[in-house]
Symmetry: C2
DNA sequence: TCCGAATATGAATACTGATTCATGTTTCAG
DNA sequence: CTGAAACATGAATCAGTATTCATATTCGGA
């Protein structure tokens, strides 16, 4: 892997490395390929998903793929990045003007579960990133963890939650969301989001103690 | 994938599909290959790990691999199964004669984190099973979830914890362990197991409420 | 209207790596 | 001892598939 083949015809690859279309037609084709890649890779997994599968799903020729992406790895990375952006946006919108941390926790969990049910492919893509693109995987989780951690620290200072190691708590709470998301998306659990959130939120707020 | 090639020379593949060595020498070779596979696949991931890598790590010729395993997929499955057995054993031993659920929770989390720090390769193998061997992945998590669920239900009946949806709680708690395990194994977090457990257990027992 | 840039095509290339196989070597029951 | 079963070898096969490339086609601005 990592052949770093240069060529790129005329289109300039930007500072970020992406190959930018110059026209609306190109833009549309690029989007079609990216979206096809999301579906195909999400379903079959990175290794079983061939460029041929992706381009035929997108309705373009095989070579067209390389007009917009430098390699198979690159589309994948881009999908991971996009997933991160989308989830973060969903979460921040959902918790925007909630002052109390415990309420924000609830709204965040709800938003996360709803998002993930709406984008099951993206969940698998993130998981696979641990193997295909470890850096992107790292960035994805650590970005969340960091935001979570600082939020928890602020809440402790504000007296909204009791003191405790914010980093460990952040990972524990992320784990709850992730696991409940997986139960729904991968295992097809049909428990209504509301009910799941109620149970989980009670656990997070009050613990199991009788 | 799934070529289902038959051949197997003389050795009979048992009902479970495994190819059993007939002599001590064979037994030793088989173990060497399995253990090499664990290291190599754990490090490089399933797709980057070639049969050549595995056999050379094991110190045998490439063809020898196929004396003991029908395919690359098969070693992988076996590793996942073995991982499941090992973790379950570690957990059940750790919680064996602890009557109180909340204490058992703590001992279980400790045992899990210690186990996983001792077998980092196995953690990655389970994760990758979602793509390489979904059935094994399913079995792994659902076996845990089921045990967890029934334990929680019993604890509710015994009045050791407050009532609540046991299945959702089971997945949430598994998520906590998994995430904290990942933080340690994948991200190299050095927080002592004891401290992690203390924070997490307090969260599980008492929640975040001030 | 016309031309160069952009976009599109799909066959050809190139390489990787799982699996097989023909051929030894070792073991052990009788 | 001895021959057949087990075990071991590593070179050859064989298929898949990422990437390239020579060749069209389309489009937007002058």
């Amino acid at each position: 892997m990592a052949k770093a083949a240069r060529k790129t015809g005329t289109r300039t690859d930007q500072s970020n490395g992406q190959i930018q279309p110059k026209t609306a037609r190109g833009e549309a084709t690029r989007k079609a390929i990216l979206s096809a890649a999301e579906r195909v890779i999400g379903e079959r997994g990175f290794n079983e998903a061939s460029i041929g599968h992706i381009t035929s799903e997108a309705g373009v020729a095989q070579g067209t793929f390389y007009i917009y992406f430098k390699s198979k790895d690159e589309v994948f990375s881009e999908l991971v990045l996009e997933m991160g952006r989308l989830v973060r946006r969903a979460l921040s919108e959902a918790t925007q003007n909630i002052e109390n941390r415990l309420d924000a926790e609830k709204a965040g969990l709800t938003a996360f579960l709803e998002f993930i049910r709406a984008h099951p492919d993206l969940y698998r893509i993130i998981q696979e990133a641990l193997f295909v693109d470890p850096e992107a995987y790292h960035a994805y989780y650590h970005t969340f963890a960091e935001g979570y951690r600082s939020g928890l620290e602020a809440a402790v200072k504000a007296g909204q939650i009791k003191p405790g190691d914010a980093d460990t708590r952040a990972w524990a709470l992320m784990g709850i969301s992730r696991s409940l998301g997986e139960r729904a998306v991968i295992w097809g659990d049909k428990t209504p989001v509301e009910d799941v959130v109620e149970t989980a939120h009670d656990l997070i707020v009050n613990g199991l103690k009788p």
